[in-house]
Subunit: 335 residues, 2 copies
Amino acid sequence: MAERIGQYTVKLTEKVYVHSYAAVAGKLEGEGPLGGQLDAVYNDAYLGEKSWEKAESRFQKKALEQALLKGQLTPNDLNFVFAGDLLNQCIGSAYGLRDINVPFSGLFGACSTMAQGLALGAVFIDSGAAQKCAALTSSHFCSAERQFRYPLEYGGQRPETSQWTVTGSGAAVLSNQGAGTYIKAVSLGRIVDLGIKDANNMGAAMAPAAAQTIADYLKDTGTNQSHYDMIVTGDLGSVGSELMLELLAEEGVDLGAKHTDCGTLIFDRARQDVYAGGSGCGCSAVVICSHILNALRDKKIHEALFVGTGALMSPTSVQQGESIPSIAHLVHFSG
Amino acid sequence: MAERIGQYTVKLTEKVYVHSYAAVAGKLEGEGPLGGQLDAVYNDAYLGEKSWEKAESRFQKKALEQALLKGQLTPNDLNFVFAGDLLNQCIGSAYGLRDINVPFSGLFGACSTMAQGLALGAVFIDSGAAQKCAALTSSHFCSAERQFRYPLEYGGQRPETSQWTVTGSGAAVLSNQGAGTYIKAVSLGRIVDLGIKDANNMGAAMAPAAAQTIADYLKDTGTNQSHYDMIVTGDLGSVGSELMLELLAEEGVDLGAKHTDCGTLIFDRARQDVYAGGSGCGCSAVVICSHILNALRDKKIHEALFVGTGALMSPTSVQQGESIPSIAHLVHFSG
């Protein structure tokens, strides 16, 4: 049974363990600071497929296969898969997972999808509805660029606030049995829209959602940053991270050195030409399913909040002059 | 606590009540057989907005407002909203619900979204993670046509197997307290892809998924069609319904007169020029949140299976020569 704490938090009363996890990514990610922690790096952005969209599906399939393999499981051991992505109609997930024959719950949380999937999976396991389930998502620089921005061949200039879509996928298997890292509580976010209209500044659009979800969680649990070893946001990048810290400071919350961001961790901005950092559903999925869960497994950290952030816009909504609503979902890992 | 029954079914151990529900739709739906049961009918397809996408968001907002009003609730009474739609990046839901300030779980289940949202909401309530939550979705003929098919101005010819996207939205509020209709069990479906490539024949693509989920559920629960007053599929339309019944007959399951389909209920095919029937996320959402839940409320039926069906393709995947994966999620209503 789950238990509601405060206004927005769900505390899990049974331990929901991270049974296994895996991250697979492309060449640029492999050359980044976390390259050595990835389960596989593919230099071919097509992965042998005929389109980038098919390649993205394949990344998802490979991440799940790796996570299952590392956990000595087969798809038959899963009761549910929670997955989604940013391609129109989430085809990265549907085509990537169409052959596994596991009950499938498609999600749309934009870049917050990994946190959302983990949160839903954790509640399902805690409720008894599942013994094991998987959460995963993906993104691909090439499929994202042509869908959201310009054809790659156009070679458009990028502003400094723009972020670089991660090519890769991360998958985690949750279980009602196990040892080590587990999910203690989750909090789904509320949509926030402070009127940002610049689709090249997603970090700024998502910062208020991250700040809100973190503030809510600290209030609901009566904790502050000192209770956590790490508070890791999804893909705010350098610009969004700074804005989020400012917004929290206005509310008297100083995350200080406890805060880090998957978008700044995955690339070396001094060495790699990625502007404000990484983004895309795959960004936090890859970083959580390698670096962060490794650090928990190795007892380098014990309490970590993962706050996945998503911008809920489309090219159509931006063209119609709309601002960018955003959301942030929180998962509390303990280990 | 939920309980797993058989291989794919989740039985809810606490009653999850349908607290209130509402359906709002456009002119054509208002003129159809269920027109008199709708909470509001809007003759202006724009609903006073400047685009069809904004109008679709507004339909969702209105459906939720109506459902809350009928249930004497405000958004503050909801712990979660589960919503999604078929517009790219689910903007119907994100923009429609951005102002309600309720934790939001975005879904992508194509036309199965209403069943998926009800299933997830029911598990969340049964687990104790929520006391009340809402499930809703929408579609809009005009936004769907231009996104999935042709500009409306083009006036493209439609084949006989094509379906007519419903303009409208349905919303239901679930609660851990109440009386009357409740959700007894849910089953999330597995993706099925039998190789159908004709995007003008969604019913055929979705029929195998519906057949599979129904067969699984009957097996898991040790029941047959005689245990139910109605087995209502999402939006198979006339072509898909016939195929599904054939597929089930091959497995020795004869649904007979127990089967009906939201896509055939919402329009009068003899009188309205809708080809094989209604479709779109809004189709089953509107029919369930009016006609079907009314029949349960009025004790005309007591046991009903709602099997929402979705085609998980995109125009891009179809252009790349892919077949159409589909899915069906099941919700067992009792009252």
